[in-house]
């Protein structure tokens, strides 16, 4: 029995957790729901010894414990699987686990380790090959290696920090019974999520956090999904209010014809993009679903000119783009890249500078060839207000904004001035429900204004909610679907490469 008693924690002036108490029974799956910033991660970091609480205590089987560090947590049998895996891709599963939970330095006892891993995997009915190299496993399998690592280290209480954020729908479907089988062996699982549907399928009990306070704790099923969402958000969900457009799309803006891309110098590998046929018309959102790593990033790269195409034609409004260098293409498209911190924003620059990165050359923002400081500030203030970016001031370096507000800033910059063509890849990754709805609304609003939107997204629900047409990317190929005539499951199967013709 794990119990958290009256735990409070403040960061600066912000009360991250306020008097939270929660008891978790052994062998149960406890869901912790809440928006980003609700305090889920803080609570788990306290359990795992990364943060010390200001007040309150933790009891394990009735005994008060002080979790001073992750080491202490591990000794107490508390294991945590982080969103970003702590695995070495170059090493085998066995070596990774030996590295993490082994004791001696000279002998590896590889055979003994392999047997322990195999036995544990078998008892959970998981297919994990101890000899495979971690870098060659898919994300779902790597996650299992992480879970096995926590268990081999003696973990009895397992914290899963948003484990589904990195998984495909099919991998989520596989994770759920896997976690259930863990619980049957007596392991306590604490499952953190902001996705209601997953918690619903996985957990025995749920706790809902909102702004640092526990607003509900009880068995799953006591509250309806709408009630839970309402408690999480304090307002009804916005996803349902979005929808496909009724307006008929206009002319073709972006067109890709028989586009292939092969990585230079690697002719022996299969092409990254294989015969891509794609057109995006004004006033429509074309959604591309797919498991990550099937060529989605490459597709954006070839459109933006970061990667050369080996054959085919890319046209914008009928004119060939191939002669344009990528910095010239950047002016033709608004692009919301996958990696907002690496590609989309300059973290050390101020919010203002980041907001001006696209439009700083406009005459209205320059004076004598230099930046027009007051015009910049006015523009930044305007965007902050209209996109509801929460910040301590427009001159604050953007790295100090939360992920959701960084994304809002990125979108404010890219969508300013009504760009005719918008490319977006996973634009809501890591965002909470409120910010997700905001981003999706901005995309649908852009469509209403007549923009052509290419949306590449790994969250199928969101993709299907706002796309007019949906295609599936699999192994570098683009497969058309008859959405909305076919169902979600059929698209899910296509994403896994099963029966692509059936949809």
């Amino acid at each position: 029995m794990l119990s958290i008693e009256n735990v409070s924690k403040a960061f600066g002036g912000v009360q991250a957790l306020n008097n939270v108490s929660l008891a978790v029974a052994p062998g149960s799956v406890q869901g912790i729901l809440g928006e980003n910033g609700a305090g889920k991660t803080t609570l788990m970091n306290i359990l795992f010894g990364l943060i010390r609480p200001d007040r309150g205590q933790i009891r394990l089987n009735g005994q008060a414990v002080v979790v001073r560090s992750p080491r202490v947590a591990q000794r107490l049998g508390i294991g945590m699987v982080h969103q970003h895996f702590k695995l070495s891709p170059a090493l085998s599963v066995t070596d990774n686990l030996a590295l993490a939970v082994g004791r001696n330095f000279v002998l590896l006892h590889r055979a003994a380790f392999r047997d322990r891993i195999a036995a544990l995997a078998r008892s959970l009915h998981w297919a994990v090959d101890p000899d495979s190299v971690v870098g060659q496993l898919n994300v779902g399998q790597q996650q299992r290696v992480e879970i096995i690592k926590a268990l081999l280290g003696g973990g009895k209480i397992l914290i899963l920090d948003e484990p589904t954020a990195v998984l495909t729908p099919q991998e989520v479907d596989e994770l759920i019974p896997a976690v259930r089988s863990l619980a049957r062996t007596g392991i306590t699982v604490i499952f953190i999520s902001h996705k209601l549907s997953e918690v619903n399928r996985m957990c025995d009990r749920i706790a809902v956090l909102r702004r640092g306070e526990l607003v509900f704790a009880g068995p799953m099923g006591e509250l309806s999904a709408e009630d839970i969402a309402q408690r999480m958000l304090g307002a009804p969900s916005a996803l349902s209010s979005l929808g496909a457009s009724s307006a008929s799309p206009g002319l073709v803006r972006l067109h890709l014809s028989r586009v292939c891309c092969t990585l230079p110098g690697t002719r022996k590998y299969k092409p990254l993009l294989n015969n891509i046929e794609l057109s995006v018309r004004a006033g429509e959102i074309v959604g591309i679903a797919g498991v990550e790593g099937n060529g989605q990033t490459t597709l954006i790269d070839v459109i933006m000119g970061s990667l050369p195409i080996s054959s085919g034609v890319i046209t914008l409004d009928g004119s060939d783009l191939s002669h344009l260098a990528n910095f010239r293409r950047a002016r033709q498209f608004a692009c919301i890249p996958e990696d907002r911190q690496g590609q989309g924003l300059v973290l050390s620059l101020s919010l203002t500078a980041n907001l001006m990165l696209r439009s700083y050359r406009n005459p209205e923002f320059t004076r004598l060839g230099l930046r027009h400081v007051t015009a910049w500030r006015a523009q930044a203030t305007k965007l902050v207000r209209s996109f509801d970016i929460r910040c301590a001031g427009v001159e604050v370096p953007i790295q100090f904004l939360s992920g959701g507000n960084q994304q809002k800033a990125l979108i404010a910059r890219e969508l300013y001035g009504n760009p005719p063509v918008i490319l977006a890849i996973n634009p809501t990754r890591g965002l909470d429900i409120g910010a997700t709805a905001f981003v999706l609304q901005q995309l649908t609003a852009a469509r209403q204004r007549g923009a052509a939107v290419l949306l590449i997204h790994s969250d199928l629900d969101e993709l299907l909610a706002i796309s007019d047409r949906v295609m599936v990317m699999y192994a570098g190929q683009l497969l058309p679907t008859k959405w909305p005539v076919v169902d979600r499951a059929a698209i899910g199967r296509m994403m896994m490469g099963i029966t692509p013709q059936a949809a």
Binding site: P70, H84, L91, N96, L99, L108
Partner: protein
């Protein structure tokens, strides 16, 4: 033809291994450091420090063993400075490595100057005594095997040490938990940290080990294969080691193969330089008209070509050259 009673082939094979020995020794250390994510382009400087330290210590003490020990200690000491700057203060490894090279040129020259002065003031010879320093050591029996005997079993003791070390490091890297940790340090330091392993401490250990190896390789040049010191006597061999680690794709067999290839071409060019004046064949005679610098250049041209063709598909450790800040 015969040189000192050996066939040319046997002679070349023995010379090849002799030339490859310091490269293998320094390469093993550099390989281990690079596997953990630290690239030290100051290896040339570390070797040079080993040259002078080994020579001076052997000269003063009259013992080759003391010289080798001093070279190893000075190599580690210089590497400790590099580790402090890059691993702990997170400075750029390439810049710091270049600084080590420049520092070593100055420091070794200065040490050489003081050593000469001190010896002369004490009315002692600057050059090493007849029996100070190492001689090649033939292993009884094995060294009599035709061709392979002189090549592998009539070498300096550092060659035997390097081969034993190579086997031990290979076993360590691939069959122990320490090896898993070392490889993970360059591939996913965050995984090491999560396992409670101090990334910086371990990387420092690897850098110090590389310093010891480079120091020993330097001593080989000044008190084993030759018994002399000259300023800048490493002549770019440290940089060759860097390229051979890449050439061998961070594997020990690959590294050794590269060292033997380079050592072979180097021996061949040296032999060509001398035999072209003594041989009676027309081809050898014609070679006289080629400046000797051309032959000296050959091994480096081959190294460049090999790098250009082979290193493409091998990215190396993911965190190579990146500081770990935590």
């Amino acid at each position: 033809m015969n040189i000192i009673g050996e066939s040319l082939g046997t002679f070349l094979a023995r010379q090849t291994v002799q030339a490859a020995t310091p490269l293998i020794m320094a390469g093993l250390g550099e390989l281990l450091a690079e596997v953990t994510g630290v690239i030290n382009i100051g290896i040339e400087g570390l070797m040079l420090m080993g040259c002078i330290a080994g020579y001076a210590a052997a000269g003063i003490s009259g013992s080759g063993g003391v010289g080798l020990g001093a070279a190893i200690l000075v190599g580690m000491g210089t590497a400790a400075v590099f580790a402090g700057v890059t691993v702990w203060a997170a400075a750029d490894q390439i810049v710091a490595g270049a600084a080590v090279n420049i520092l070593a040129v100055g420091a070794s020259g200065l040490a050489w100057f003081f050593y000469q002065n001190a010896r002369e003031a004490a009315h002692r010879s600057v050059s090493l005594g007849r029996h100070v320093g190492f001689q090649s050591e033939a292993i009884p029996g094995l060294s009599r095997i035709p061709f392979f005997g002189p090549m592998l079993f009539d070498q300096y003791m550092l060659f035997y040490a390097a081969i034993i070390l190579a086997v031990l490091i290979w076993l360590l890297l691939h069959h122990t938990r320490t090896g898993a940790i070392l490889r993970a340090l360059g591939d996913a330091p965050e995984a090491c940290q999560a396992a409670g392993i101090s990334v910086r401490t371990w990387r420092t250990g690897a850098v110090l080990f590389a310093g010891a190896c480079a120091g020993a390789a330097g001593a080989y040049l000044s008190i084993m294969r030759t018994h002399a010191f000259a300023s800048d006597m490493t002549g770019g061999q440290g940089f060759v080691v860097l390229s051979l680690v890449i050439f061998g794709r961070w594997t020990i067999p690959g590294l050794i193969a590269g060292c033997l290839l380079f050592g072979g071409i180097n021996s061949l060019q040296q032999t060509l330089q001398t035999t072209r004046y003594t041989s009676h064949s027309t081809l050898m005679h014609a070679l006289q008209y080629i400046p000797f610098e051309f032959f000296q250049m050959l091994p480096y041209v081959v190294a460049l070509l090999a790098l250009a063709t082979l290193s493409r598909s091998s990215p190396g450790p993911r965190y190579l050259g990146q500081a770990w800040r935590q």
